[in-house]
Amino acid sequence: MANNSLPPHLAKEQIMFMAEKEMEYRVELFNKLTQTCFRKCTEKSYKESELNMAENSCIDRCVSKYWQVTNLVGQLLGTNQPPM
């Protein structure tokens, strides 16, 4: 990221780009988490459209565990700043 070697208007583009990628990353994380926890917590028979109690608490725990996995993997990848 030779940011400082770029002319100013490109450097600014870089900042905008990084902000965009940061947001894209969060959106993608959210999407993958949502899909994965839906798969893990919901029965595919779709007998009703409400979430029952078991599903609700499964979702909460699933999000919490997914978050921990994200941080754990972040540490392993050696990023000194946590990924979120």
């Binding site: 965009e20 839906f38 459209s49 409400e50 979430l51 919490s64 978050w67 946590p82």
Partner: protein
């Protein structure tokens, strides 16, 4: 990831801030279109397995409705939990 970078953003001139806001709007539009596509794919895959007719039968339609509604509720709940974690309850549980 980048407290620093977000600091930099505050110092941007007005026009750039507007560009940022527009960008965020745009990402949200793209995101919701993608979510829509994924939802259709998932509910179709889970609910439709017979191809002897070219229209959905009553049972398939009910299944798709429930699947979509359930996914939306699921998605909102995940969003709430995700926001809580993002706002910083210390990570390790």
């Amino acid at each position: 990831m980048d407290k620093n970078m977000l600091g930099d953003l505050d110092n941007l001139p007005e026009e750039d801030k507007m560009k940022m806001a527009a960008m965020i709007d745009q990402l949200q539009i793209r995101d919701s279109l993608r979510m829509y596509n994924s939802l259709v794919e998932r509910c179709f895959t889970d609910c439709v397995d017979s191809f002897r007719r070219k229209t959905l039968d009553k049972q398939e339609e009910t299944c798709v409705r429930r699947c979509a509604e359930k996914f939306l509720k699921h998605s909102m709940r995940v969003g709430l939990r995700f926001a809580e974690l993002n706002q910083g309850a210390p990570t390790q549980d």
